[in-house]
Symmetry: C2
Subunit: 546 residues, 2 copies
């Protein structure tokens, strides 16, 4: 009897009253089971938000409880960004941004307005100032900030991250006086009398930075809500979060527990300790109706090209004394990847330089001997690859998680750092696909904007928003429109073991979709960048409408 009782209770939960919804009158586009493009004109989902049917013009209209007129708009799968820093997107959106200011006066006015609009913030934090752009001919001063915000500490990061600008109260909180010495590798800008004038360079930045209060839990909740708003606004319904800390995870769970989790997050923990604390003996299950899952660990193997931290096989063309710095020895990398793999966690390894990429490709090769099965070893960025190593992407199920916008942002700088010869394997999307590798596309937001349509435009053109360079930079590495769409949908899902759950508009997957005003498979790259998003649906619920 009791067994019957338990079974009956389970049946009740599994079979709610049916209430299907049809979205009709759309030009639907999705990547299909085998990577092909599937077109349709209507989509049916059930009341758990799971797609049950696709309808094509000429089919019988299905019997449903609700019907939504798509008004002839284009329906696309919700976009997936395979590489973002979710909390950083939110904090950046909540921070004063001075990067668009063209004079000191304009900047001060923006600081004043921000302080006024945010009376509850104990510190005014900002970023993006650049006295060169302002034509100031000198650094700005604490006194200038004091005239605007005398009663709260102000702390503003320069555009290049190499200097910060404080007001007097911020310096006072940090105990900075004329007697404070310059630290090694850092400089405190001073007036003629030796008094710190408000700007702190490089290693002097932490002198004040250390007293900035860390975000409170409500700040984190706020930032996360903001990040979700930013992402959904750009048509992004799912992301891979690259470097989830334990506090980040708690923030996401808090949102999940209180009904505030609106996007889907494939989380990669910030190091193996966070991985173990969050996941325990293995990846978490999908939580909150497939909205959150810890899949594995993010590891850093080298730095970035701009700061010459990317680890290269030969020295930098524009600084022959250095070839970058590996952040892990080959043994450390293998030990960490092994630590993850033995418990079924996925590894996502940041590798930008060709030496770093070779190292992680070799590591994948070696680890694959012990850790069989479907491991989906991820290489994040994979920017500069020695052409001889490209074919290794075709082995052992490696995934290159790449960011098209980095290519247009970096192209000039990459030429300076590397010279012509080493660009043959740079941002080599098509070559990796042709080697049999898999791509997943993303943005690295907030480093680049999280705009997937800009990403698609670059992926198929290798030109920037001004259409430059004409014909595309190393245009032989463009991908097809279908591959670009797959990179931001089905293939980004695959990279997080989410195929069959979301990423395609096919029966059995979650009804995550966009209604937009144009078809990225048909219009020009510059038109793709101008895509207008009318509605965003996640799991069969309308979450954003423009």
């Amino acid at each position: 009897m009791l067994r019957t009782l338990l079974a009956a209770a389970a049946a009740v939960i599994a079979a709610p009253a049916a209430a299907d919804t049809l979205v009709y009158n759309v030009d639907g586009v999705t990547i299909g089971e085998d990577g092909e493009v599937v077109r349709f004109n209507g989509l049916v989902f059930d009341d758990e938000g799971i797609i049950t049917d696709l309808v094509t013009r000429g089919d019988d209209r299905p019997e449903v409880d609700y019907a939504v007129d798509g008004k002839g708009q284009v329906m696309l799968p919700g976009m997936i960004d395979a590489h973002v820093h979710v909390m950083d997107i939110g904090f950046a959106a909540l921070t004063l941004d001075l990067s668009d200011t063209n004079s000191l006066e304009e900047a001060l006015e923006k600081v004043r307005r921000f302080a006024e609009e945010n009376p509850g913030r104990p510190w005014i934090l900002g970023r993006g100032w650049n006295q060169e752009k302002w034509g100031l001919g000198r650094f700005p001063t604490a006194a200038e900030l004091d005239s605007i915000v005398p009663d709260r500490p102000v702390w503003l990061e320069r555009a290049d991250n190499h200097a910060n600008w404080a007001n007097s109260l911020a310096m006072e909180r940090a105990g900075i006086t004329a007697d404070t010495p310059d630290p090694e590798g850092g400089r405190i800008i001073r007036d003629e009398s030796g008094t710190p004038s408000g700007v702190f360079v490089d290693n002097a930045i932490p002198l004040v930075g250390a007293v900035v209060p860390p975000p409170r839990p409500e700040d984190r909740d706020n930032a996360f809500a903001q990040a979700q708003q930013v992402l959904l606004g750009l048509g992004v319904t799912a992301v891979a979060d690259m470097g989830t800390s334990v506090v980040d995870w708690m923030t996401y769970r808090r949102a999940g527990d209180t009904g505030g989790l609106r996007i889907r997050i494939m989380a990669y923990a910030r190091g193996v300790e966070a991985m173990e604390l969050i996941g325990g003996p293995g990846p978490t299950p999908w939580l909150y109706d497939d909205k959150l899952k810890l899949l594995g660990v993010k590891l850093y193997l080298d730095g970035a090209l701009g700061s010459r931290g990317a680890n290269l096989k030969e020295s930098y063309a524009d600084e022959p004394d250095t070839h970058g710095l590996p952040l892990l020895t080959p043994s450390q990398l293998r030990n960490l990847m092994s630590r993850a793999a033995m418990d079924g966690f996925q590894s996502a390894v940041h590798a930008i330089g060709d030496a770093a990429n070779e190292d992680v490709l070799f590591a994948i090769e070696e680890l694959s001997e012990s850790y069989k099965g479907d491991r989906r070893w991820r290489i994040e960025h994979a920017q500069i690859v020695d052409p001889v190593d490209l074919e290794r992407f075709g082995r052992h199920g490696a995934i290159a998680s790449m960011q098209p916008l980095h290519q247009t942002s970096d192209m000039m700088m990459a030429e300076a750092r590397l010279g012509e010869e080493r660009l043959k394997g740079a941002y080599a999307w098509r070559s990796i696909l042709e080697a049999g590798g898999r791509l997943a596309f993303g943005s690295d937001a907030p480093v680049e904007p999280a705009d997937p349509f800009a990403g698609i435009a670059v992926a198929i053109s290798r030109t920037d928003k001004n259409g430059r360079p004409f014909g595309g930079w190393r245009a032989e590495e463009t991908v097809s429109r279908e591959q670009a769409l797959a990179g931001f949908t089905a293939d980004a899902a695959y990279a997080g073991f989410a195929e069959g759950i979301f990423g395609r508009l096919l029966p059995g997957e979650r009804a995550d979709f966009l209604l937009v005003d144009r078809d990225p498979l048909l219009v020009s790259p510059s038109e793709i960048r101008e895509t207008r998003i009318a509605q965003v649906w996640v799991g069969g619920l309308l979450v954003l409408e423009n």
Copy 2:
């Protein structure tokens, strides 16, 4: 239209097909809304496991989908233990227990069997040995352990926690040699030649303890499963976990996420940092159908009576040089309680000595001036209270969370430590109730067994399991049977803001109940201790059957 759609979806979720269950033919007993005893003969709950009706003999039999014959047994609310250490219960249950051994040979045989039964454990850990009880006349040796377990490190805690016994491999792992000096406040027992012989006293214990590997996530999951089994086996369906670490919390969530959470946990974080990391801006919601919630923070204000750490107003009777040690200054205590209160977290403050109790009572008084409303300030243990302070328990909604079994375990020791005069406010359950204070009863398991029926027996008799002392120790402080039952059910729920959710068998509460063979309101204390539990139900599901 879309709004209608969302509303319709919500309605579907809220209205599953009804499937009520009746448990009939029982002698039901519960504490009612106003602390009175309510008796009934049948209980109806719905398929969410929530009680919808109580039935009394003579009522019409309700129409239900399922009916379970209670076979005339006594139905009680699931017992609630207001003070346990959940993970420690589990780890203790998984660790070799030598406390029942009466000779070295018996202990070695038990070690041998445990090692054999647990081939996967990298270290053999145990506790409870006592060479005095064995009549050995000397400490045991590493060589004796080596003869039984030569190939894995063994590390066994003495009954009093003041010495540990290692085998040679454990010492080798720790790098212990004849050259290792005794640390300050510690001693390495050595043979005539100066070679460590296997026993480490006091501050020498960490020399080996530091190399014992911390539990792996799967060990924690295992321990938690074990703890739940122990608790359910004793009829405990809900607990307050006193000192939940972040890893503990992750373990509970993992169980919740994968359907393995069987008991209800009211969690109090181990310090304010863990509180903030787990809860963020405030207490979590009830998670997993009212199975888990972080309510607040556990703070330690003093130590224990046995080790003379309890903070007393006057010095110890049996050691006039000390009156214990406060672990927090009055300001620190207030700052921490304030830090919790400002975000709506509850404080649960460990206070054993009369000075500590006075301090926390004063702190509650002061904090109540700023933090209004229903705060339910908890004092954990509240063992030794200056009679002049007793009336303070009646103010500001203070809750004394006390453990009846401590009274019988401690009574001889308490007399030695305190002398007759200061026992007037010792374990003063009835006085606290009469002062208008609220009691919540618990066990402090694994320090004491988590057996609530033993707790009820002590609460009404103040005699130990042998019925001593005849008539009860300071019997004026016994409580009534109804108060004892309430302390382990309704009042323990109230202490965790869970009234109306569980703790009483009343409509609207979760159907957490026991079927037992006797009525604790009718039989003698010694008979209460022998209560046999036939079935344990949590949330309308049978979770344990004997």
